[in-house]
């Protein structure tokens, strides 16, 4: 998750606190020890809500897929001896959290991945497993018409607003192999699902606006958002 690290005009230097709350990391301000929740950027013990970190759009995906979306991307330099995750076993098994947590909400499996969307204190989770079958999901949340699309890797998704100018679009997937193409019912424009770009038709050249979202394990999302909606 990516946040602005300017809070009330002051630039913070953040670090891992080594602490987890509801199994999700707390970040620490290295200058004054204040704790922030990695899940949503709020200060750990509430208090001044202006003092929160503001979330920014980011995409969890693979290097191959990110390069396809942004061929001119830069990458953070990495020691090439680092060749794997530290958490291979945790990623593969059914265990929830480092100390063993119970799934707080049986609507989805604890270790199932969800595309989590937050809007004015409300939350929506779209199951990645369901999205792997449907490839796209259209909904309305917080007054915003949204399009959730599975990326070609099948391991992650993007979220776009379905509003273009004054129009709200609804999309149909086109049959075919490879990259998912969509057609909107309102204008017949052809769209690339993974980039959100209009390829041909009346709206050619338009770009759907990306919406904030994060990929999360269901058990952690549900612990932070007990009232969350689940779709489909």
């Amino acid at each position: 998750m990516v946040y602005t690290r300017t809070v009330e005009g002051k630039e913070l230097r953040l670090a891992s606190s080594g602490k987890l709350y509801k199994d999700v990391l707390l970040l620490v301000d290295q200058d004054n020890g204040a704790l922030y929740r990695q899940m949503d950027g709020a200060t750990f013990r509430g208090g001044d809500s202006r003092a929160r970190l503001t979330p920014l759009p980011a995409l969890q995906t693979t290097w191959g897929e990110w390069k396809r979306l942004h061929p001119d991307t830069l990458a953070l330099r990495k020691d090439s001896r680092i060749r794997d995750t530290l958490y291979q076993r945790y990623l593969a098994d059914e265990r929830l959290g480092v100390a063993g947590t119970r799934n707080p909400d049986a609507r989805l499996p604890g270790k199932g991945l969800v595309v989590g969307i937050e809007e004015a204190g409300r939350a929506l989770a779209v199951s990645l497993e369901a999205l792997r079958r449907s490839r796209l999901h259209q909904t309305r949340f917080g007054g915003q018409p949204l399009l959730v699309v599975l990326l070609p890797s099948g391991d992650t998704a993007r979220v776009f607003s379905r509003r273009v100018g004054k129009r709200t679009l609804s999309f149909e997937p086109l049959p075919g192999e490879g990259e998912l193409r969509l057609r909107d019912r309102e204008t017949g424009t052809l769209w690339s699902a993974s980039s959100g770009r209009a390829l041909a038709g009346p709206l050619a050249g338009e770009q759907l606006l990306p919406a904030q979202h994060k990929l999360s394990y269901w058990f952690a999302w549900a612990a932070y958002h007990p009232e969350t909606r689940v779709e489909p």
Binding site: Y21, D23, A58, T61, L74, A75, R83, T85, L86, V98
Partner: protein
Amino acid sequence: MKDWIVSTRTFCQAGAAAVLAAALTVAAAAAEDFKPSWERVGDGILLSVVPPSNIPPINKPEFVSADEADNFLCDTEPVLGVYDGQVARAYSLWLLDRHEVVNDSTPGFGPIAVTW
């Protein structure tokens, strides 16, 4: 794609287990005089897992082109990608496993924290 990239890519499959075991040994040694603890806070549990000094953030991130990064990133490697409207940057999650936070700045967003 250049041929030499294919040949250097063998690192994407080999040697993972050994590196992982070594990293865990280091983490265990550094945490010897630290006692994990927990307390109930609100409707959740606060766990202190490791001392904060165990997981140093990256404060001076250095970036390279995608071509150069292909020497040390696998196409299947998970990344966090950020696009601020002007520049796109990728942060390897295998690297972030070891640091959890990158204090960075981008032209479009200003100071940001990339966290994992």
